[in-house]
């Protein structure tokens, strides 16, 4: 085993906000085939969670075939070259092996959650799904047909309709121009050969990361994954570094007619990327604007002060290049204009510099004080390790996180507000009744 891989870098210790807290170290090994393995041990529950992230995100879906990466992820876990879908399902279920998959814009992930005593079987199954795809044409037809029906069903949801339109509007011909799930038309155009081509070009160990958390040591883990991943090698045709920067779109308006009582309103523009120099200032800006739940300005002004909505929030997607920065709300259709005006006033105020020190300090306190919660389950730890490994962030990312938040100055947040919160630069997407609703 130890001949197969060499230990590359190890162990970052971390002490967080609470002095008593000792975060488990992040252990890293790079296998000879280039795969990065990151582990945080946690021995209080006899289980292990892991996620393999490879550069086969939906940004690489062929033009007009949105949902290709998503269908690929579904096919990989459905059956393998050795097991048809029935024997495969029975085998996983008998050992309580939870095997999952997902496609996001930048990457495709396979995930495993398993009891400690079933870890060898679990890793075996995980590797079989990843490396021995079955490509059963009949199963492809079934999965495709079910996903097409699911896409039609999801058109009942205003949030899905708005998100589709937002992606199309913001990204034009860019690979981020659709939801990773695909849509009713695009899913029907996909062929099995599209999945095979994406797999052949992108499902490679270099640039991939295996993130693990749970009741296992690095030695135990390597002894299992070494043999299981034997023979897997190569580099992907494209990595996240090949994703082009999208062009700016601003001031556009789109309306989607739906027979609902509420209007779903999304304001959207391009936001900061994962690698933006001002990333932490942007995080605080968003927290103050609409990312901080009940303490955010949008929640206070639109819901608490005026009772116009149940939910209003903002977020930006920290992707390899500028992801969407979105403000979203739902309100009875005849109140949409009023709610939108309040949102614009909040944006304008922050854009013009009206953010004070106390507000910034409150946001910092909430984020840093809550840091331990970001790491308090295997699933959360796997998510963070995947992100650190996949985007090649420094291994002390978690260690430095609190200092990075605390180091943000008020003027830095004000500068980011000026950069991002001019209401005129945002686009507006609304889904709801075009006749203004019946006030019910």
């Amino acid at each position: 085993m130890s001949g197969l891989m060499r230990i590359f870098a190890l162990v970052v210790f971390f002490s967080a906000a609470t002095p008593a807290m000792a975060m488990p170290p992040v252990e890293q090994v790079r296998l000879d085939n280039g795969l990065r393995v990151l582990l945080m041990q946690s021995h209080n529950v006899p289980m292990v969670s892991m996620s393999l992230n490879v550069p086969a995100g939906s940004w690489l879906d062929p033009s007009g075939k949105g949902g290709t990466a998503s269908l690929l992820s579904a096919m990989l876990t459905d059956h393998t070259a050795r097991h048809d879908y029935i024997t495969w399902a029975d085998r996983l279920d008998a050992a309580a092996i939870r095997l999952g998959s997902d496609a996001s814009r930048d990457s495709l992930s396979l995930s495993l959650t398993v009891l400690k005593d079933a870890l060898p079987e679990g890793v075996q199954a995980f590797a079989e799904a990843a490396l021995l795809p079955g490509w059963d044409a009949k199963r492809f037809a079934v999965l495709q047909s079910d996903s097409v029906a699911g896409a039609q069903k999801s058109l009942e949801e205003p949030g899905v309709r708005a998100a589709q339109e937002t992606a199309a509007l913001l990204y034009g011909e860019h690979g981020y121009n659709h939801r990773p799930d695909g849509d009713l038309a695009s899913l029907q155009r996909i062929r099995l050969a599209d999945l095979q081509a994406m797999y052949a070009a992108q499902f490679k160990p270099q640039g991939a990361v295996l993130a693990v958390s749970g009741d296992v040591t690095m030695d135990e883990l390597l002894a299992l994954i070494g043999p299981a991943l034997k023979g897997w090698k190569g580099a992907p045709a494209k990595t996240f570094r090949d994703i082009p920067a999208p062009a700016t779109v601003s001031g556009e308006v789109r309306n989607i007619n739906m027979p609902t009582r509420q209007m779903t309103v999304q304001l959207a523009r391009l936001g900061p990327s994962r690698f933006d120099d001002a990333f932490f200032a942007d995080m605080l800006l968003n927290h103050i604007l609409g990312g901080g739940g009940f303490s955010s300005r949008l929640m206070n002004e639109v819901r608490e002060q005026r009772g116009l909505v149940y939910g209003v929030y903002s977020y930006f997607a920290p992707l390899a290049v500028s992801g969407p920065f979105v403000i979203s709300l739902q309100t009875r259709a005849d109140q949409a204009g009023k709610a939108l005006q309040v949102v614009h006033d909040v944006m304008r105020g922050m854009h013009d510099g009206k953010i004070d020190k106390q507000e910034l300090q409150a946001a910092k306190d909430n984020l840093t004080g809550g840091f331990a919660h970001r790491l308090d389950s295997n699933a959360k730890r796997v998510g963070l390790l995947s992100m650190i490994g996949y985007y090649d962030l420094p291994l002390d990312y978690l260690q430095a996180w609190e200092a990075n938040i605390n180091g943000v100055t008020l003027s830095a947040v004000q500068a980011e507000a000026k950069r991002f919160l001019d209401p005129d630069q945002w686009n507006s997407i609304q889904a709801g009744p075009t006749d203004g609703g019946d006030a019910q």
Binding site: L92, D146, K153, G370
Partner: protein, 447 residues
């Protein structure tokens, strides 16, 4: 709540069995204290990270409302965030945020719960704040006037603009004649439009009393410290008499019922439900566990029978599921549903659904099927231990519905003892067309 709800006991409930794990991962022991005024404390210590979750559980929920005032328990929950003698409106959440914590609440038919996830060092302060608002809530008319509009928006979002939720709401209402699970927790819109601050104040007086409170703390705390803190906060509230809860016996169905909900929708959905027994420890352990195992075989894991037979083999739906909650008060509405694609008909799905259930009833599960279902259910209990929030929620809900969190191991034992014959028996007795209520979501045809 402010944003999480257990409003729709039917739709997309994850199958099965929120409890704990046996053998492989014994639970941390529970420590408890009962105070003279009726307040109960349950603590599960876990020192693996310097965090804790505090949950205040109330034996009050949608079932405690009177006709014409549906939604009141949930409205009340919102008002708990609107200020008290010592804390201005919104101040509670602001203070929790400043600690690095987050807070919220949820309401079901059976209970209401308020929770905070915080650094463990803040647990004492949080318990003090919770007791203060519990005892001295402001309940101002002007806050109510705004909040009731927020809740109407919540109903529009969750139910009125979601045809599937709307259909399940109607189906529950048609299914039960007497039991309060027939009314939606969020409340009917016409009730939400006539509720008043006086209703809220009367609800406060009647239900927010120490005898209805269970405090649950899970995390990096010391039981003795928490006990002292609860003694000088919740423990000091004046004792008041506790009235028995409304828990009527639902009359046995005398034949099948059907309903159609014609709504703006893209595709049809067909759902079947029926009242089934919940778990009464020591009385029907095997029966409730067999219902849970039967449901797991039908709808759990990758090998789920409904999926394999109806979706994969017969192609009569593009998704199918079923669910059973053995841990509610009095009764549960067992359900199964299918999502239908453009060329799939409700009639064919319904026929396939009953044929699949009948097949399991007649042949029984094979040994591998039964063993796999049990192993997954035990594994799910282990996986659930990974989340402090879920652990606290399991403990709190078992306490307030009257089962008791100390019974967790008994449930695992009951699951382990289920035989194939038990599965056949409960399917034959409870999951039958003559007892069923069938609902169809029929997409509205545009003229």
């Amino acid at each position: 709540m402010k944003s999480i709800h257990t409003l729709l006991p039917l739709l997309f409930l994850s199958l099965s069995v929120p409890l704990c794990s046996a053998g492989a991962a014994p639970f941390a022991p529970l420590q408890r204290a009962d105070f003279e005024n009726g307040v109960r404390l349950v603590v599960e210590e876990d020192h693996s990270a310097p965090v804790a979750i505090v949950q205040i559980w109330l034996k009050v929920g949608g079932r405690d409302e009177v006709p014409g005032k549906t939604g009141l328990a949930h409205v009340f929950e919102h008002m708990m965030f609107k200020g008290s003698k010592a804390l201005a409106a919104g101040e509670f959440s602001r203070r929790i945020a400043a600690m690095g914590g987050n807070d919220n609440a949820f309401t079901s038919h059976d209970y209401t719960a308020y929770f905070e996830t915080v650094p463990a060092a803040k647990v004492d302060e949080v318990l003090g704040m919770e007791a203060e608002r519990f005892g001295h809530l402001s309940l101002r008319a002007e806050d109510f006037a705004k909040e009731i509009r927020v809740i109407q928006e919540e109903r529009r979002m969750r139910t009125d603009d979601d045809p599937n939720s709307r259909m399940f709401e109607e189906l529950s209402s048609v299914a039960l004649r007497l039991h309060p699970y027939r009314e939606p927790v969020i409340g009917w819109m016409q009730d939400l439009k006539t509720l008043s601050i006086e209703d809220v104040r009367a609800f406060y007086q009647e239900h927010y009393i120490p005898g209805n409170v269970t405090v649950v703390v899970v995390g990096d705390v010391d039981f003795a410290d928490v006990k002292k803190t609860v003694a000088r906060t919740f423990g000091r509230l004046a004792k008041r008499p506790v009235a028995p809860r409304f828990n009527p016996v639902e009359p046995e169905p005398i034949g099948p019922k059907r309903m159609v909900a014609t709504l703006p929708a893209q595709l049809p959905m067909l759902a079947v439900t029926m009242p089934v027994p919940v778990w009464h420890p020591g009385e029907n352990d095997r029966e409730a566990a067999a219902l849970a195992v039967a449901t797991e075989i039908l709808a759990g894991g990758r090998s789920a029978l409904l999926n394999r037979e109806i979706v994969d083999k017969q192609r009569k739906a593009f998704a199918a599921a079923a669910g059973y909650d053995p841990f509610s008060m009095g009764t549960d509405l067992w359900f199964a549903y299918g999502m239908l694609g453009p060329k799939q008909t409700p009639e064919a799905f319904e026929k396939a659904l009953w044929a699949t259930i009948d097949g399991l009833r007649d042949k029984g599960p094979d040994a591998a099927q039964l063993a796999a279902a049990k192993r997954r259910m035990i594994a799910d209990e282990v996986f659930a231990q990974d989340s402090l929030y879920i652990r606290a929620k399991q403990i709190g809900s078992l306490e307030v519905v009257g089962i008791g969190a100390d019974r967790r191991d008994d449930w695992l034992q009951a699951l382990g003892s289920v035989t194939g014959k038990d599965v056949q028996k409960v399917l034959k007795q409870w999951i039958v067309p003559a007892r069923s209520i069938t609902g169809l979501l029929q997409p509205e045809v545009k003229s």
